[in-house]
């Protein structure tokens, strides 16, 4: 995948988050503070605006632009998490013009590590990690499909949150999709489309 593919991926993700921002916020309403859709939309729209004003020249710069925008425009929990993830991808792609599937797996793994370093959550705590982690495993084995991603997102429903704002609900967090998992699922599905 080259820089063009990356751009198609990220723009498609941004468009879909914008289209679904109310739904995503509603997911957050059930177990959080109802802003995840607005937060993500704000960050991704700012990214679209930034790249419309001055396009990035390289893959690494593309990720950096997205990462910095998420970091400086979103706030909340998702801002620093997605920000750290894309800044990690920027670091990993420095000087690269083409990414193969192995690169992508490595890229995502390091990004996941950055998310975990920042957020200190592990698998099973009903956060975006519950999509990222198993999705990367599947991708390694070439088994990642859109249906599989939906499955991972839905698998957060029966979980009880122990990290993030939803953790304050305790057992009342059970029975709902984790909003960050949903937005991460969208991102991964659009990645699949360009792979």
């Amino acid at each position: 995948m080259n820089h063009g593919g990356i751009v198609v991926w990220l723009k498609a993700w941004a468009d879909q988050v914008n289209a679904e921002k109310d739904y995503i916020s509603d997911l957050d309403n059930a177990i959080g503070d109802g802003d995840h859709g607005f937060n993500m939309s704000k960050g991704l729209t700012a990214y679209l605006d930034a790249r419309a004003a001055k396009p990035a020249e390289t893959i690494s710069d593309e990720f950096k632009m997205l990462g910095m925008t998420m970091l400086s425009k979103v706030g909340g929990a998702s801002g620093p998490l997605y920000g750290s993830a894309f800044l990690s991808m920027s670091k990993d792609t420095a000087g690269k013009e083409e990414l193969n599937n192995g690169d992508i797996v490595a890229l995502l793994s390091n990004a996941l590590e950055a998310i975990q370093k920042r957020g200190k959550a592990t698998v099973g705590e009903k956060t975006m990690i519950d999509v990222w982690h198993p999705a990367i495993e599947l991708l390694k084995n070439n088994e990642l499909t859109k249906e599989a991603i939906d499955g991972l997102v839905n698998a957060t429903i029966p979980m009880m949150a122990t990290k993030g704002r939803a953790a304050y609900l305790g057992e009342r967090s059970i029975g709902h999709i984790d909003p960050g998992s949903y937005s991460s699922g969208l991102m991964l599905k659009h990645l699949l489309s360009v792979l």
Partner: protein, 330 residues
Amino acid sequence: MKKILNRPEDVVEEMISGLVDAHDDVVYRVGDTRVVARKYEGKGKVGLISGGGSGHEPSHAGFVGKGMLSAAVCGDVFTSPTPDQVYEAVKAADKGAGVFMVIKNYTGDVMNFEMAKEMAESMDNIKVETVITNDDIAVENSTWTEGRRGVAGTVLVHKILGALAERGASLEEIKAEAEVLITEMATLGLALTPAIVPQAGKPGFTLADDEIEFGLGIHGEPGYRKSKLRPSAEMAKEFYDKIKPALNLTKEDKVVVLINGMGGTPLMEQYVFTHDVLNLFKHDGIAVAKKLVGDYMTSIEMQGISLTVLRLKNPLWLELLNDEAKTIAW
């Protein structure tokens, strides 16, 4: 949604402008950031900063000034501010003795403030220490690894540490005092009506006409129980009966009580509740050395109230609370 505002997306910008223009004797705005800093310099003293999502007014900008916060960062409504904004606050607050951050225990706040700390330390060599307030005992449970939320008690932390900084304490001394302080306070809140985030345009949760939520957080996060509306005295008793054991209060203790309106609660109701709360302390013979009543840490227009109790383990805390502060809202 029925609110006095212009475009919902401009609400934080315009609110900051209004606040800074109205109180230009006390505060200023740092460049075009969302940082409200004090005009009093406090040269050579530790700078104290705080912040978080907007919607908790007068927290946090209302507590910026001599003897309290050096600067406050205003995030979007109920959304923690970004690291670059917090970083600006650190820079504005540093007067040579380092900066102390008071962070309320929410994932977003903790991450964004910590990133700003890393930025200030690595890029500007500013010494930064932090405390994470977690006074809300509504959601305490050892399996919930996020711990408790930081709520109204945070304002007492601002005042006590702000006075300590003003008296010239070092960053390490403030850190040490802060870590004890946060273990000696407990808060419980309840809501009669929800808050409406302007950009959402609708309430984050709903309550029936005769229903209240016990243990609610300051962003409308659910509490520990829904219940029918009950007399003020019974609600006060429910909170008192949970807070007393949480702090191991005995007749030997002196406490500070903060009764905090959630934004839409008339003072009439706050004082009725105060009457009921103070009766409970009187009954048990626990001395209330200081009482604060009013809107300190709100949830936009939410009707509701919280009760914070601080056990005065260190008598100095009372002195520090009584030290003069020159802020908008203390």
